[in-house]
Each structure stands twice: as structure tokens, then as C-alpha cells.
């Protein structure tokens, strides 16, 4: 069942190009939907339209099938966590959590029971009488969460709630949020520009760019089956290597001893669909090899790209290489920790890991890949 539906939504600010045009979007009941995209893609605007903090220029917003376009933010059964937490600075933690309940005139005893329950859930019990400026970033974050949870909303909206935290705390709160989601079993709509947050928490990812949906699917789907170059480049760290097939073909014609060859020289266009314009592969789906000795190790179908190691980063569980090839720079993520020296090297690929894209940068599904996924 759809919890939230956006029908033909458009949003334009006075003077200026529209941020969103003809957007149709539905968010499933009980899903953890993450709206992700680069800054300026309209993701926060969508969230704010759902919350009613921003008025859509045209189109309808439906929550539980009911058109809420004329319903005030406070009456939409939603709670929101803001990027800077937006805690009321002059109120204590308790008053912050209580404010929304007082406004709906909940009896005092009930209020207190709720606050006790929530503060236990988010570990805030010792801090109830403190003011927000006396708390750390993580604690403020939890107050913001508590303030949202206590209202018992049917949808949680979160606008980049982790971006003000340091890396360690961020990953901790990420797991906390997943646990919370499983405990509360309500619908979460989460906005972020960070693909790691999207991949780690979402059940459903909506990738946006320039106000348009680029890809929508589960984290596994979006990683394995990106529907266009933008998606392929956005998801994954480092992003997918995308090379222009034309450049390779061109080189190929000029120099028959192409770099992208197996034991026998093969042109990239011979293994990909004929209308492919771009070819991509993930850094973690490639290997790096020093030229001579390992050449014999290549299995029958593997391809290799000649290149020069530009930089290498030892990252603990893997080594990240930046390799300069004739066709552009590519990244290789190697899980073999004995590092390859700077200088000439080969990037080894399996043809089944290659993804092809057409002239409009849209994915061309090949039979092989369908088998693969």
C-alpha cells in the first residue's frame, strides 16, 4: 500500500527555473525510503512538500490516499528531524520533547509516561533537565529523534540528520536508526546526499538528479543494475569507472594491438552491444596486475587495460589504485594487500562485469548481465 503519493508535482520558486517538474512518486507503507542525490537535485524540496512546509506549485500530495494539499503541517501526522536539529534553545530537553504533546493538550500524566518511555529508548534519561547547548552533537541528535518519536507519527521525515556529526558517530547513529526503524515499523522518508547512508539504511532508494528520478530500487538493485551512467557514478565508492566506447574503438582501429584484449585482441564493441557508447566497470570488480609474470594467470575470457599507477592508498582492508590509461583514469579496488608498485601495470577485467550504456547514457541490458544478477 502506498503511504505517500506525489502526483504530478511541480515546484518553482519566484524567478528562476523550476526545481521539480512532473514528479510522480509513491512511498510504500512501512518502507525506509531514502531520497538521495547531489545538492540541488530537489530532494529536500520534495521532503518539505510532503511535510507541508513548502507549498507545491502544482500537483497533489496524498498521505494514506487523502489529499493533504490544504492540511497544515501540524495536522499531517508526520514528524520531522532537521539537519541542524532545530531544538528550541531556551527549553530543556524535557520541554523540547514535551512541547508538541502540550500543544495537542495531552494530559500531564500521559505526557510524563511517554517522555519517560522515549528518553529511555534514546538514552536521554540523565539529560532531561539540560538545555540543548549543554549537549553534544550526538545527544542533540537524539533529542531531535525523541521529539519526533514521541508524537507517534505515521511518517518520519528526516532531512540530512547525520550531516552535522563526525564520521564515527554517524555510523553509530546509522545503526541506531536501523534498529529504531525495525522497532517502530513506521514509514521513514530520509533525505541525504551521502550514498553510503542511502545504501546502508534504505529498503528503497530513490536517486534524484535535477528534479528527476534517475533510478529507483532496492540498494542491491541500484548497485548491481544502475539504469544509467548517473546512477552508476553516484552509487559506489569510488564510483564506477565509465569509459567512452568510441574512444576505445578509435584507438582500436588505429592500433590493432589494442589494450583492451585478452589473449587474442578483441575490440570492446565486439563483446558489447553495437550501439553501446559507454562501458563501465566497478573498481571492486577489477584486479590489478604487474605486466609480465601474471599474464599467464589470466583466465580465458579476461580483458586487460594497460596503464600506469598514479596513486595508491592503503585503506586497511583494501588498496585503492588510481590508474592512468589511454582512455582516461580508472580506479581499481584491490583486496590483495601486497601493494603493486608505481609504474606500468594492467587492470584485469571480466567481461561479465562490464556494463554498457547508449548515447543517452541509459543502460543497455545484455543477456549476460541478466544472468549475472
Amino acid at each position: 500500500m502506498n503511504k505517500i503519493e506525489l502526483v504530478n508535482i511541480a515546484k518553482a520558486y519566484e524567478k528562476g527555473t523550476p526545481v521539480i517538474e512532473h514528479l510522480n512518486l509513491n512511498i510504500k507503507e512501512g518502507s525506509f525510503t531514502v531520497l538521495v542525490g547531489p545538492s540541488g537535485c530537489g530532494k529536500s524540496t520534495i521532503l518539505r512538500i510532503i511535510a507541508g512546509l513548502e507549498k507545491e506549485t502544482s500537483g497533489d500530495v496524498l498521505i494514506e490516499g487523502k489529499n493533504v494539499s490544504d492540511i497544515a503541517p501540524g495536522d499531517r501526522q508526520i514528524a520531522m528531524v532537521f539537519q541542524n536539529y532545530a531544538l528550541y534553545p531556551t527549553m530543556t530537553v524535557r520541554e523540547n520533547i514535551e512541547f508538541g504533546l502540550k500543544n495537542i493538550k495531552m494530559p500531564k500524566a500521559e505526557r510524563q509516561a511517554k517522555i519517560a518511555e522515549i528518553s529511555k529508548l534514546v538514552d536521554l534519561e540523565p539529560y532531561l533537565s539540560r538545555k540543548p547547548h549543554q549537549l553534544s552533537g550526538g545527544q542533540r541528535q537524539r533529542v531531535a529523534l525523541a521529539r519526533a518519536i514521541v508524537k507517534n507519527p505515521s511518517v518520519f521525515l528526516m532531512d540530512e540528520p547525520l550531516s552535522n556529526l563526525d564520521a564515527k558517530l554517524r555510523s553509530q547513529i546509522r545503526t541506531d536508526l536501523i534498529e529504531l526503524y525495525r522497532k517502530l515499523k513506521t514509514t521513514f522518508v530520509y533525505v541525504t546526499h551521502d550514498q553510503v547512508e542511502a545504501m546502508s539504511m534504505a529498503t528503497d532508494i530513490i536517486l534524484l538528479d535535477k528534479g528527476k528520478i534517475q533510478h529507483r530500487g532496492s540498494p542491491a538493485d541500484i548497485y548491481e543494475n544502475p539504469s544509467n551512467v548517473f546512477t552508476a557514478r553516484f552509487i559506489g565508492s569510488p564510483p564506477m569507472n565509465i569509459l567512452s566506447v568510441e574512444a576505445i574503438d578509435l584507438e582500436d582501429r588505429m592500433d590493432k594491438e589494442s589494450d583492451l584484449i585478452g589473449k587474442e585482441p578483441i575490440s570492446i564493441s565486439s563483446i558489447g552491444p553495437h550501439h553501446a557508447r559507454y562501458v563501465g566497470f566497478r573498481p571492486e570488480h577489477s584486479r590489478i596486475a604487474k605486466r609480465c609474470p601474471e599474464m599467464n594467470d589470466l583466465s580465458i575470457n579476461e580483458l586487460f587495460l594497460e596503464g600506469i599507477v598514479q596513486s595508491r592508498e592503503m585503506l586497511g582492508d583494501h588498496v585503492l589504485y588510481k590508474v592512468k590509461t589511454k582512455y582516461g583514469e580508472v580506479y581499481v579496488k584491490s583486496f590483495q594487500l601486497n601493494m603493486v608498485d608505481y609504474g606500468a601495470c594492467h587492470v584485469v577485467l571480466n567481461p561479465k562485469d562490464l556494463m554498457f550504456f547508449d548515447g543517452n547514457q541509459n543502460r543497455i541490458e545484455t543477456d549476460e548481465e541478466r544472468c549475472y544478477t
Partner: protein, 274 residues
């Protein structure tokens, strides 16, 4: 090390000098209020008194209807304060947070009123009030100051610094516009509000011109008018009596400042706070 000490000493000297410049008039006023007439007009003057003349205070007290004027001062200053509280806060909130037609024009006109000196408008105001039969009433002293362009301007600045998300969070929390103003905006703007309240109180308390021109008898005249009347004595000016009156006039203001100084400083440095 020596440099640091020198810097400290310099700082102390400069601070002392500045403090002296500001304290001197008050000291002089207090000192003169305890002198005899002969001492008060003596050249060169003495910077201390051997026998303090506390009687001067009693003389000043008796020379004018002190208590009734004190009462008038309190009523007028408090009245102005309350009126401004009621008018300034909603206006500042509206100018800071709402979009409406003619907002900038109205705001501009309002700011322009700060540039008009009271001496320019007292005559039409007097005529208007006399037509309404308001001369010699508290209303005539309170109404012209029932709002404050300066106050609206200052408070608007403070309100504009409050992040928009706070208001949005409050709206999602089911808070009415009044509740947002009362429970969220005002507590945040507290230092500014305290400063404004104090300023308007002091301005009203010290105002001489308006209560003087809008009254014809002592019924609603305030203390500054009374103290000024101490000058008019047949036997020349009794400076020590005038000064005793002045000390009694400024004492409440000084006490108020003393208690509110922390808030006032905060009010002016709020810009830097997050």
C-alpha cells in the same frame, strides 16, 4: 613577560580613565547634593565635603510635590513600557517573518519616523490632544510613545536571526503563531527585549520636554519637570538642592541598570552568538 605586564598596566590605566570620565558627573552631582550653597559655588571647588548636608534632600523633597510626581513618573514610564511591549513585539515579528504587500514601504515609513524630532510635532499633537480633552492626563504622556520604531527595528533584527527551521519544527509541533512568538521567539530574544524595556523605561523616566509641554498644572507632571522647577527660586539657584533632587531622580534608573547590565550587554552582542 615584561611586555605582557606593561600591556596589562596600560589596559588598567585606560579603563580607569574611561570609567572616571563616566563616573565623574555622577560623583559631582552626589557631592554637590551634600554641600552647602557656599561650598557649591566656591571657586576653586572642593572635591569632598567635611560635613554632609543631608538636609538638602529633605528640602528638595518638600519644595515640590515629590511623592505625587514620583507616582506620576512611575505610572507614565510603566504605561509606556507596557504599551510598547504590546505594540512592538507583534510588529517586529510580522516584519521579520511574514511576507505581505507593502511590507518594505511600511517598514521604511516606520523607520523614517525616528528622524522626526519631538520638537517638530509637539504643537500639532498638543492641539490634537487638547481637542480630545486629553491635556493634563496620563494618556497625553503615554500615547505619543505607545510604540517605538527603534524597538521594532531592534527586535526585528533579533527575530530575523532565529533559524527558520525552529519555526518549522514548532509548526510541525502543532504550535499556533502566538505560541511560537511567546514560547520560542521571545525567550530567544530575551536579552534584546530586556534591553528595549529598560531603554524605553529610562527614556520615559528622564523625559522632560514632553511632560512639560503637555501639562499645565502639577496633576500628572513627572519628576524631571518637578526637579527642573527647583531651579526657579527667587534667591538664585540653589545648586545643592537641585542636585539632591537629581540624585533622587536617577537613583532608580541606576539601580535598574545595575541589575540588568548582563542582559543589556548580551542584547548588543547577540549577533555573534549561535
Amino acid at each position: 613577560m615584561a611586555k605582557k605586564t606593561l600591556k596589562k598596566i596600560m589596559k588598567l590605566v585606560v579603563n580607569t580613565l574611561i570609567a572616571a570620565i563616566f563616573i565623574m558627573p555622577f560623583y559631582w552631582m552626589f557631592l554637590t547634593s551634600l554641600k552647602t550653597l557656599v561650598e557649591a559655588i566656591k571657586v576653586p571647588p572642593n572635591f569632598w565635603v567635611t560635613v554632609p548636608q543631608w538636609i538638602n534632600y529633605a528640602t528638595a523633597f518638600k519644595a515640590i510635590p515629590f511623592l505625587s510626581m514620583l507616582k506620576n513618573s512611575i505610572i507614565v514610564a510603566t504605561g509606556i513600557m507596557i504599551c510598547q511591549f504590546i505594540t512592538v513585539i507583534p510588529a517586529a515579528y510580522a516584519f521579520a517573518r511574514f511576507q505581505f504587500k507593502g511590507k518594505h514601504l511600511i517598514f521604511g515609513i516606520m523607520l523614517a519616523t525616528m528622524m522626526i524630532p519631538p520638537q517638530l510635532i509637539f504643537l500639532p499633537v498638543f492641539l490634537m490632544f487638547s481637542k480630545w480633552g486629553l491635556i493634563n492626563s496620563y494618556a497625553s504622556l503615554i500615547l505619543p510613545f505607545a510604540s517605538s520604531a527603534f524597538g521594532i527595528f531592534m527586535l526585528r533584527q533579533t527575530f530575523m536571526q532565529v533559524p527558520e527551521e525552529l519555526l518549522e519544527a514548532a509548526r510541525l509541533d502543532h504550535a499556533s503563531e502566538f505560541k511560537i512568538l511567546w514560547r520560542i521567539m521571545l525567550p530567544i530574544a530575551r536579552p534584546t527585549v530586556v534591553t528595549l524595556v529598560l531603554f524605553s523605561f529610562i527614556t520615559a523616566w528622564n523625559d522632560y520636554f514632553w511632560p512639560f509641554v503637555l501639562t499645565t498644572n502639577n496633576d500628572v507632571r513627572t519628576l524631571p519637570v518637578g526637579i527642573a522647577s527647583l531651579f526657579n527660586s527667587s534667591s538664585g539657584v540653589n545648586y545643592q538642592i537641585v542636585m539632591a533632587g537629581n540624585v533622587m531622580l536617577v537613583a532608580p534608573v541606576l539601580i535598574a541598570f545595575f541589575f540588568a547590565q548582563k542582559q543589556i550587554i548580551k542584547g548588543f552582542t547577540y549577533m555573534g552568538e549561535k
